[in-house]
Homo-oligomer: 95 residues x 2
Amino acid sequence: MLAQVFKALSDPTRVKLLSMIAAATDGEACICDMTEPVGLSQPTVSHHMSVLARAGLVTREQRGKWAYYALAPDARAALAGAVDQVTAAHEGAIA
Amino acid sequence: MLAQVFKALSDPTRVKLLSMIAAATDGEACICDMTEPVGLSQPTVSHHMSVLARAGLVTREQRGKWAYYALAPDARAALAGAVDQVTAAHEGAIA
DNA sequence: CAGACGTATTGACATCTGTCGATGCGTGAG
DNA sequence: CTCACGCATCGACAGATGTCAATACGTCTG
């Protein structure tokens, strides 16, 4: 569903988490790096990341004991496409 | 807040409503035109439109007894900007 | 004015959602 | 093997959200 992608970003915490990942120096971050900035417990952050991952916005990679989350390669395109689809006009698009 | 815009689109019903308006022949629609396609009661549709309007995605214009809703002029740009902001990378943007 | 019609608001209710503490699962260190 | 550490899952709970029926509000018509 289209709304599922937007739903993943309907929470300020998830928006911040995604922005943090996108702006991270290496383009990735582990849970332990994010709990403190957002001021939430580790299970809660883990839950939010799970939502973002299920929406296809981030990817998860386990390296050792840490789980590194990164912006999905097609996240930007997927979001742009979603916006396009929702605001698509009837007459051959505006732009 | 940024998440507020996405939150407005976090419900499948609102996504459909917005799409219907964007795809409408005249670019606008009244409540009575939308209750039947989405299969919801009039108050519920009115509520959803109120949410979309408060998010700045649609505009409301009262003409006679009917209230015409249309896609806000900057809705597309606002959404695109929101996507850009969330997925913005650190190093001078990707694209 | 009085009634009909489209819409918005209110109140109530079931469900979803974000949050936490406790606990379980893997992995690396000793 | 045993322990410490990072993360995920579970159970529980408060608050938010979608939905409807009832009702109030505005506008046109007679």
